[in-house]
């Protein structure tokens, strides 16, 4: 099944800068895709379009078979609940424990407390942070914080996980740990799309590589490496 589909997508920002040009791409359910390219190549725009933080200038985007190009604003929250996101800068709430941070994703969709407790505990175990559930983000290392983000992004078992440079602030060893986690999540059946410019990670994993350059897809290779 096609999980993500871009058809003739163009994105031009207000100042006439072309971010994406004529993008055609299909990502099937369960795939693990690396989105590579230098800064400004359009990786971030790609992700923003997927979570409807911005709209296409032309072309259509399908997520799980649904056309999200003309999605009503009121339906955007629902889209985002089905796409877990993690970022380079974590975006955790500093005044809440990591348990509360992860629970937050379930609170906003109105899950009852007893379910929240169970699900959050489960996911924290999965990422290996159950013992530290009452710690605050600043008390954790970078790698641990990113695990919390992964936990939050995945606690609701969304079909898609988007990662925008998740290992950007981490050392190689810690990055490896994160990538292992993402692999496991992908093995369960989650479609993972990861934007990155870390050669070593891409080369080590040999997954599908989609390379962007100046807003255009210049390479789409199964089991690819970073540079062509």
């Amino acid at each position: 099944m096609n999980m993500i589909e871009f058809r003739n997508v163009n994105k031009i920002y207000d100042n006439n800068s072309i971010a994406l040009r004529d993008i055609n791409l299909v990502i099937k359910k369960g795939e693990f895709v690396f989105l590579v390219g230098p800064s400004g190549s359009g990786k971030s725009t790609f992700i923003k379009l997927l979570i409807k933080e911005t709209s296409t200038t032309s072309g259509t985007i399908f997520v799980a078979g649904r056309n999200i190009s003309n999605l009503k604003s009121s339906r955007i929250p629902q889209l985002r609940r089905n796409i877990g996101c993690i970022f380079q800068d974590y975006k955790l709430l500093s005044d809440r424990t990591i348990f509360e941070n992860v629970a937050f994703a379930l609170e906003v969709i109105g899950k009852p407390n007893y379910i929240i407790k169970t699900q959050v505990s489960q996911i924290l175990k999965l990422v290996g942070l159950y013992a530290r559930m009452n710690a605050y983000p600043h008390q954790l290392s970078g790698g641990e914080q990113q695990r919390v983000c992964i936990a939050r992004a995945f606690v609701n078992r969304p079909p898609i996980l988007l990662a925008d440079e998740p290992t950007g602030n981490l050392d190689p060893a810690t990055s490896e740990g994160i990538m292992k986690l993402l692999s496991r999540i992908n093995l369960i059946g989650t479609t993972v799309v990861m934007a990155t410019h870390e050669r070593s990670i891409v080369n080590a994993m040999r997954r599908r590589v989609v390379e962007l350059e100046d807003g255009v897809i210049v390479r789409d290779q199964a089991r690819g490496v970073y540079g062509s």
Binding site: E53, S74, P77, R80, C85, K91, A105
Partner: protein, 282 residues
């Protein structure tokens, strides 16, 4: 939770409140001065009893008239003697040169000229039996134009103060929402609906406005009590002024108190809602 916001609300609303009260008091002072404008109709000595009764009944029947009192020549003389007790002038008087009069009090002092004209015929002469009509013409015109101008100015000042309060409160709330922008961003990211994000902020804005208004009212209340204890007897004796809102003995003050709390709450809610808009747009 927005200590700055609550303080800002309290201070600005306190200023609005105290000014409103001063304004109301100035207005009512002016009104009571207006009320003291009386119309005196001096009668000729040779006026017949019939004509006097007729005039009295006529005047009583006019809708503008609050009260009319007939002062006879004798009564006028007694009054004069009492007011000028011990003065040499009493020795100079022979007989009773003072006229009888009607002292007319009007419901709306601003109608005095209208009523005064009724004692004048088409040719501009006073009607039969009436010697003079006195009401401090120039003084009255000036007074009424003053009260009108003061009324407008004070209303404008209150509007400006309320606007200033709104701007100050809005900015304070906007700053606090800016400080929470990360939280809002995360909420949007995990798929919270706009209303889920808005609701706590709206409530907080309302709460801050409500509490801030309440504090301003409390301060005002204590000031009133203090002034009431110290000042009322003084003012009442020397200036015969009663019922000043500033002293807390007026119904107006309840309206001002309620107004401050309501205004604070409304500004709080709307400021929150409005300041959030830029963060909730997609």
């Amino acid at each position: 939770m927005g200590f700055t916001a609550i303080t800002t609300v309290a201070i600005t609303l306190f200023i609005v409140g105290i000014f409103s009260i001063i304004v109301f008091d100035v207005q009512s002072l002016l009104k009571s001065v207006e009320k003291q404008v009386e119309l005196s109709v001096y009668l000729k000595d040779n006026i017949s009893e019939d004509l006097k009764s007729y005039l009295e009944n006529e005047i009583k029947s006019w809708p503008e008239v609050e009260k009319v009192q007939f002062i006879s020549k004798d009564q006028a003389l007694e009054r004069f003697k009492a007011q000028n007790e011990g003065s040499d002038i009493l020795k100079e008087i022979q007989g009773n040169p003072l006229p009888a009069s009607f002292e007319i009090e009007l419901k709306d002092p601003q109608k005095v000229e209208q009523v005064a004209l009724r004692f004048v015929d088409k040719d501009g002469n006073n009607i039969e039996g009436v010697d003079e009509v006195i009401y401090g013409k120039n003084y009255v015109r000036k007074l009424f134009s003053i009260t009108a101008v003061v009324g407008t100015i004070t209303l404008l000042i209150i509007i400006v103060l309320v606007l200033a309060a709104t701007v100050l409160i809005f900015n304070t709330i906007r700053l606090s929402i800016y400080a929470r922008r990360r939280e809002i961003e995360v909420m949007k990211l995990v798929g919270a609906t706009n209303w889920y994000i808005r609701a706590p902020f709206l409530f907080e804005g309302f709460f801050e406005g409500f509490i801030g208004g309440g504090i301003a009212v409390a301060i005002l209340y204590f000031i009133n009590k203090f002034l009431f204890i110290k000042g009322e007897s003084l003012l009442v004796e020397t200036m015969r002024i009663k019922n000043l809102a500033l002293l807390g003995s007026n119904n107006i003050i309840i309206i001002v108190y309620a107004g401050m709390i309501i205004l604070g709450s409304l500004i709080g809610i709307f400021s929150s809602g409005f300041a959030l808009r830029r963060y909730l747009r997609t």
